[in-house]
Symmetry: C2
Subunit: 526 residues, 2 copies
């Protein structure tokens, strides 16, 4: 039996602690008084088992209690995990859930962060230093004013612009108008700087419209969103992260009652660290110590630890300390968080001077100075992978019939052939965009690629997947360390973030269909 081990700090008299610990184990599993549970099987397989009670040295009324639960009781669901660990006892008192150990069998049901530390770095093209982020606000500003803030921050070299979590629009159409405007401002700045500043809008729509919001976000080339898991539900965020190839930044709004009482609730490191990472958060926003919220340095350290320690197959995430951060704190923060963090600076940046671009440069210089090994790259070059050759020169029409020609081409569709890029080199690759890029209302694109003798596609990875069907010649597909030989009508699947490359070692062309999501993330270096 696989087990989930929860660690609670329980305040009780020492004469009572055994009973209190057992009550938690019963309340959270069978929810009936101990005397009513007569089945051996239920006592063994369902009721939680108290495996350790240790006094805490400096407090005679506090105990560290470990309870093991049968992992099956969590049903591989985040909502049920929370129900099991802290559902009914949340309504009690003097019980703090500080951590939980999750077995591999449970973790394998979770996808975790789509991008993680390395993926977000590649999107931004920033290595070896914390990323600088700011928030678009205040609510009530015009779209033009918000777009100007976004533009000035991006021109100043800022890395990530997110919406304030109060920036909620009256309807989807207003969201589209505002978000398009801000995204265009950032894209314009990126063209001028050659950098790759990212813009993450805040998505808080009605439950039944969240996917429409995100479909739009993807359709205009946005690569991440800000979500509030404690408002919309942790499993909603898990679902959106699994479904869409987006960077997920999470906001802690409405989670505070779990934290404020040291004797009851759930620890920040568990909620804003481990659980956020479990549901797919790439970047977790939380109140920095010393700001206008009352998080302690130790809480912030625990959040970072839970975001970045070993955790099954899940990628590492970025802590984003925020909330009243000041210029003078940057050296201290650099020391506390090291390079793998996002410094989210709102008010201090806006109030530093009347010139946001200049202020952004000043903050960025301070960050760079603290990390002399930092390196910025042009992340836009990543688009030039074999998979993502720039579109051909002429727009083609929606066609219901694409007759096949004997030379492996199709009536109505042209072929594209380009030189390889520096960042993701490839060679001898031709692409036919068959369905999806001509106005068809599909959620996928069907392409035909052909790789000439000794040619190869880019060695790369991305969140979106490939379905590959070989139809001509022979070729090799490498997926991580696996080598797959393909002959006509062999089919292959490339899972998310798998490093992969297709190669033709023969003297005949190697041709295959490749089906991908229509809305997808950029390829990254392995």
């Amino acid at each position: 039996m696989e087990t989930i081990t929860a660690e609670y700090i329980v305040s009780a008299e020492s004469a009572e602690i055994d009973r209190v610990a057992r009550e938690i184990a019963f309340e959270q599993t069978v929810e009936v008084p101990e005397a009513l549970v007569t089945s051996e099987a239920i006592l063994r397989d369902v009721v939680g088992q108290v495996v350790a009670i240790q006094p805490i040295s400096d407090d005679e009324f506090s105990f560290r209690v470990r309870i093991e639960f049968n992992a099956d009781l969590a049903n591989a669901q985040i909502s049920q995990l929370l129900n099991l660990l802290f559902g009914n006892i949340s309504i009690k008192n003097n019980i703090k859930l500080v951590d939980v150990a999750l077995p591999a069998d449970f973790l394998r049901h979770f996808h975790g962060p789509n991008f993680g530390v390395d993926g977000v770095r590649q999107l931004c093209g920033v290595f070896g230093r914390p990323l600088l982020s700011t928030a678009l606000k205040p609510r009530g500003s015009t779209h033009e004013e918000l777009a100007r803030i976004a533009y000035q921050f991006a021109i100043g070299g800022g890395d990530i612009i997110k919406d304030d979590h109060n920036l909620v629009d009256s309807c989807l159409d207003e969201f589209k108008a505002r978000v398009s405007r801000c995204q265009k401002a950032v894209q314009r700045a990126n063209q001028e700087t050659g950098r790759s500043t990212l813009y993450f809008p805040y998505v808080l729509g009605p439950q039944d419209q969240l996917q429409a919001y995100i479909d739009f976000v993807l359709s205009i080339g946005i690569q991440g969103v800000l979500l509030s898991p404690f408002l919309i539900g942790l499993d909603t965020v898990r679902f959106l992260a699994e479904t869409y190839p987006l960077v997920i930044m999470t906001h802690p709004t409405f989670a505070g009652t779990f934290f404020h009482d040291p004797a009851h609730g759930m620890a920040p490191g568990l909620m804003l660290g481990k659980l956020v990472r479990l549901i797919g958060g790439d970047i977790s926003v939380f109140p920095n110590y010393g700001g206008r919220f009352s998080f302690r340095r130790e809480d912030c350290h625990n959040i970072q630890r839970q975001l970045q320690n070993d955790f099954g197959h899940l990628a590492r995430s970025l802590p984003a300390p925020a909330g009243g951060m000041r210029f003078e704190n940057l050296p201290q923060m650099a020391e506390q968080y090291g390079p793998d963090a996002v410094f989210l600076i709102g008010g201090a940046l806006l109030s530093d001077s009347s010139d946001l671009t200049r202020s952004t440069r000043k903050f960025l210089e301070a960050i760079r100075a603290a990390f002399p090994q930092h390196r910025d790259e042009n992340a836009n070059a990543n688009w030039h992978s074999a998979c993502e050759l720039p579109a051909g020169p002429t727009a083609e029409a929606v066609l219901n019939h694409l007759p096949f020609r004997d030379d492996f081409s199709w009536v109505g569709r042209a072929v594209s052939e380009y030189k390889g890029s520096q960042v993701l080199p490839f060679q001898g690759v031709k692409r036919h965009e068959l369905i999806g890029q001509h106005g068809e209302r599909t959620r996928f694109d069907l392409r035909y690629f052909e790789i000439g003798p000794n040619g190869y596609s880019s060695l790369e990875k991305h969140v979106h997947t490939h379905a590959i069907i070989c139809i001509r010649g022979k070729g090799v597909l490498q997926i991580n360390d696996e080598i797959i030989e393909l002959k006509p009508f062999d089919i292959a699947y490339v899972p998310p973030l798998a490093v992969h490359q297709l190669r033709n070692n023969e003297q005949e062309p190697f041709g295959f269909f490749c089906i991908v999501d229509h809305d997808r993330d950029r390829p990254m270096k392995p």
Copy 2:
């Protein structure tokens, strides 16, 4: 400008209270320091306005603070309402949100409880006394054991059986197997007793499967579900309640950190009363005072008040005190809650004797004794409305073509004609089930009704809607107090819970198509 007025209890020194109150107003709206907000329009229309600060008489460090927010800032969404009222300040301390006044313009976006007190009573056929409910548990029991508990409770006369909120199945198929079995057991008991005990399964699946769970529940004739809004998200519950014609019973699991600290969080009356009602909860489960949780009598009173006071157009909901309730408490509970409540009794009922049927009868007798005016009816009779004539004797086939005959009938479909029922009388009504009841994979049913001279359909209401298209003769549709005259090709829409009747005052037949959801709730008396 419509406003939302939030009422907080704030703990602070009297010299500080003005500043603290203003900080809340800024934090929750613009989230920038006061000095940075220079726009007159933003100061007027976006920043919250502190409208009252009153010392609380018996505590010199506590103040009642009222803040008015522009109602537009809540965007007619429950998630954004929570974000606005308590998002970031949840992470502060010494702020208790105790109530909020919501304007009519905000409330009209919310549907509220589908059934409410009156609707649930009609489903059960129980009037003038509290309903008796129990929970199926413990987890780990076989399907057979759970079904036996359900059967014995229903035979004993219990009104509502809900799943325990730990009863989560490994997958949808297991849920189907378990829930079918329990529902069949309750249906069998109902046939024997002539009563209408309801069974509400607990729905906690992955976000992307919740609708599949509920589709199944509806397909086997179940009329309500138990949901946990604080695990799956309040707006998820709102969406499910608006989408499906179900009784929504809510469980408070995972909400407790809002309550345990009297100085910080949100008040139980607001969360488990007003907000649960806003998102469509018909029955709100909460810990009764004096049980194994620490709710005070006053908290329970406030929950009931918020579930049942005037609240725009929203129906009244039922409080369901639970958690360690005992037989001896019944008289006290009868006095506290009056007749409009659900008494949810788990452990005490299971441990009262080894014969659950007998124990249920005993508890029920105690409840009935406290409410001598109570009345039980056979709620199953409600099915016999004109809309829901029992199906014809022969099963008909899926047909792609139903040729029309000049006598207003269709090749391949028979006509049904029945005598009216006692409970929902009707007269002279014929029904043709055209599409939906023969195995078609539609989510709706298309029927043709014909009402003879001086005939009428039942005067009734239900959560599901009607679309009506007149094609023969003339007739009258009454919707609440509105009279609509229908002639051929006139179309009418009957909204949820509108009291309605169709009448033929002419000497020629009055015929119309009526389109309804395939899965729908039972008609009820007006």
